[in-house]
């Protein structure tokens, strides 16, 4: 198996912990992994992305070549579009529907949704709303991860194991909240 994944969002939204969970699932299967991150100035509310590459075979480049990403997973709708040149023609685009508006000229939301739904394989998930429904706004990224999971190439149990590992030091409550959020995303059906 080989998956090239672009994780996108705005600095501070928590894409690194998403990458860490997928990375754990890959390491548990003895896969190779490379994950490049953004540190420094861009973290201050700017656009950020992480390249996550997992494979059964050794990986050379830390960066994904244009047109070869299997998935774009984005915690923000406009940010999902910024990396379209990297997506392969049959790749999945999974985006959170809730915008992060910290610029004065944020584009019209419907135009953004229109661009996203033009992609052949897409999931546009109202993760912020779903998180509010269960009264836990901290798990938005876990809901988006759940929605991505069917396309990551891991079994559901493998993903749940990685989540348990990731949060085990924070206690059973935190583990269960994150699993609950993951399930909501996993069971989300696009209209």
């Amino acid at each position: 198996m080989k998956k090239d994944i672009i994780l996108a969002g705005v600095g501070g939204q928590g894409i690194i912990s998403l990458a860490a969970i997928i990375g754990l699932a890959a390491l548990n299967k003895g896969m190779y992994l490379k994950q490049s991150e953004v540190h420094g100035m861009s973290q201050r509310g700017g656009d950020v992305m992480s390249n996550l590459r997992i494979s059964d075979n050794p990986i050379y480049s830390d960066l994904i070549p244009c047109g070869q990403a299997d998935l774009i997973i984005s915690l923000e709708p406009m940010e999902s579009l910024r990396y379209l040149p990297y997506l392969n023609p049959h790749g999945w685009l999974i985006a959170n529907k809730a915008p992060y508006v910290n610029i004065p000229n944020y584009p019209n939301l419907d135009d953004i949704y229109k661009e996203i739904t033009r992609i052949e394989k897409h999931v546009l998930i109202p993760a912020d709303e779903l998180a509010k429904e269960i009264g836990n706004e901290k798990v938005v990224n876990m809901i988006v991860l759940g929605a991505s999971a069917p396309h990551l190439g891991f079994g559901k149990e493998e993903m749940l194991d990685a989540i348990r590992q990731m949060f085990k030091n924070k206690g059973e409550d935190v583990v269960n909240q994150n699993i609950q959020a993951f399930e909501i995303g996993y069971n989300f059906k696009q209209n």
Partner: protein, 536 residues
């Protein structure tokens, strides 16, 4: 075998700990910060009593490392590429003194300027100093090279330079550790106690020794295994790669590259290996992250030999970092490409955080300067540089660490009075104090804002050497006490702060205004930790 998942930065740090490091010195700077941070947080390093120090600037860090090497122990000093400019005096002269205990300098370059003012290539500094330079291609090599670089440093009594770039620094991969952790050196002074005395008579002798070692260093580069000649079947092209450029090449040839490759990871340039490639191939392509150092050497001034392609002839872009797609194009391979970015996608530049004290300071400064002509605010390097962007547009310059104060002085001398300087607390102790001395000595009409948020914020909240010392430092340097004004930048204090600033603007002389409030990011982090402790 137990693999650790490490950033390139962390691989260097773990390797140093495992290789018998006694001390690491640094001023934080992207993309190098995670090297010392890892050692600071390492339980193993604590148990081994390894000294980990945040220093006032890269020069003081460099000199502390040279001092530890003098005392016979292994030392590492880390910095971003522009930090090596600050440390250059000590760095270049350390190649003349030589090392005693193993000494490694790590410079992390930032091609494409993700978080920097330029994309200078630190390998040139290595050649300038005439010491071995390492360019790891991946996290494992970074780990392994640290051990070898310490060995080489002690074998020849020279400092060594490890040069990495952003992508390796900030990318994670599995790293296999060496099974044995080496013991630290014991205290042992140089056999010749005048080795580090660079009086001309001694420096001339040391310099001749450095020159005489060059052939040996090249021999090491030919034989260490970090420069590899990989034979190919198609000799129409020979390829030289440096550091991580090798990965981008091989990404394009998953089943093996048809052309012979010279993979370079250690300098000085292994000339015999280069000649072998040059003689056996019709044309040469040089792929290097950074400036065209090897390409330029190979071409020579007149470019009379075989065709040499790379950044200089446009086969690869002249600036910016490389990636697999650019390398595919350079090789004439069909590059894959997704869809274009839709036009509605707008840039999202970084911004000051919500609740950031700098925001309140700038709002007050903007209002206080309302009646003055624009273009008189000289600033510096830190989060507050974002004050150049809309909506604040408060500052007019950002050149190098500390330049706000000294540039304001020069502009004031030219008649632009009052000239304003805006500098962070950590940047002030890094390189601002000496500029303040100049201003006081000449009684320049400058208004210096030291934005005191109690931390080095931009790089993630490392301790600031200025903490609790700013007023005393300014008094000690000779700023009149009544013109050192400490403000609290909060929206509710806006009117009061504007008034204080205006009073200082009206004074003809040196004023220091210190808006003082904790960085909102470190404050939130502190509160979270406090809450966690209370609930446990």
């Amino acid at each position: 075998m137990n693999k650790l998942l490490l950033l390139g930065d962390e691989a260097i740090a773990q390797a140093a700990i495992d290789a018998g490091l006694s001390g690491i010195y640094a001023y934080p700077g992207t993309p190098s910060t995670e090297i010392p941070e890892y050692v600071h947080a390492s339980k193993q390093a604590k148990e081994l009593n390894i000294v980990a120090s945040w220093c006032a600037n890269e020069k003081t860090a460099m000199e502390a490392a040279i001092g530890m090497s003098y005392a016979g122990k292994r030392a590492m000093v880390t910095m971003k590429h522009v930090g090596l400019n600050v440390a250059a005096d000590g760095f270049i002269n350390a190649s003349i003194t030589g090392a005693n205990g193993g000494l490694i300098v790590v410079a992390a370059d930032d091609p494409s300027m993700h978080s920097s003012q330029n994309e200078q290539d630190s390998r040139f500094y290595g050649y300038f100093a005439m010491i071995p330079v390492f360019e790891p291609a991946n996290q494992q090599e970074a780990y392994d090279m640290v051990h070898y670089a310490f060995d080489l440093s002690e074998k020849y009594g020279l400092p060594t330079l490890i040069r990495i770039t952003t992508r390796l620094a900030h990318s994670r991969s599995g790293v296999i550790r060496k099974e044995q952790v080496r013991p630290q050196n014991s205290l042992k002074l140089p056999e010749d106690l005048r080795q580090f005395v660079l009086l001309p008579v001694i420096a001339r002798r040391n310099y001749k020794k450095l020159l005489s070692l060059q052939d040996k260093l090249e021999f090491e580069a030919e034989n260490s295994g970090y420069n590899q000649y990989i034979e190919g079947t198609n000799h129409s092209l020979g390829i030289i790669t440096c550091g991580i450029a090798y990965n981008y090449l091989m990404e394009n040839y998953p089943n093996g590259c048809p052309y012979p490759i010279l993979k370079i990871g250690q300098h000085p340039i292994p000339k015999k290996m280069v000649k072998k490639l040059y003689d056996s191939c019709h044309e040469i392509l040089v792929i290097e992250e950074g400036y065209p150092l090897i390409e330029d050497h190979l071409k020579g001034m007149l470019n009379l030999g075989k065709p040499v392609h790379g950044r200089l002839d446009g086969t690869l872009p002249r600036d910016g970092e490389l990636n697999p797609t650019l390398v595919a194009k350079a090789l004439g391979l069909p590059a894959t490409m997704g869809l274009p970015i839709p036009n509605i996608v707008t840039p999202r530049p970084p911004v000051l955080c919500k609740g950031c004290p700098h925001n309140d300071t700038y709002l007050a400064l903007n209002e206080a300067l309302k009646n003055y002509s624009k273009g008189r605010v000289f600033s510096d390097i830190g989060c507050y540089t974002l004050g150049a962007l809309p909506p604040l547009e408060s500052i007019n310059t950002c050149v190098d660490m500390g330049a706000s104060i000294t540039m304001a002085k020069g502009a004031a001398d030219a008649g632009l009075t009052p000239a304003i300087a805006v500098i962070g607390d950590s940047t002030f102790t890094h390189s601002g104090i000496t500029g303040l001395v100049d201003c006081v000595v000449h009684n320049s009409n400058v208004k210096i804002f030291i934005l005191d948020n109690f931390t080095t914020a931009m790089t993630g909240g490392q301790p600031s050497s200025a903490y609790n010392r700013l007023v005393d430092i300014c008094k000690g340097v000779g700023v009149p006490e009544e013109h050192i004004r400490v403000l609290k930048p909060l929206p509710k204090n806006h009117e009061e702060n504007v008034k204080a600033i205006q009073e200082e603007l009206a004074y003809n002389g040196v004023s220091v205004i210190i808006p003082q409030r904790e960085c909102i990011v470190t404050l939130n982090k502190r509160m979270r930790e406090k809450f966690k402790k209370q609930t446990v």
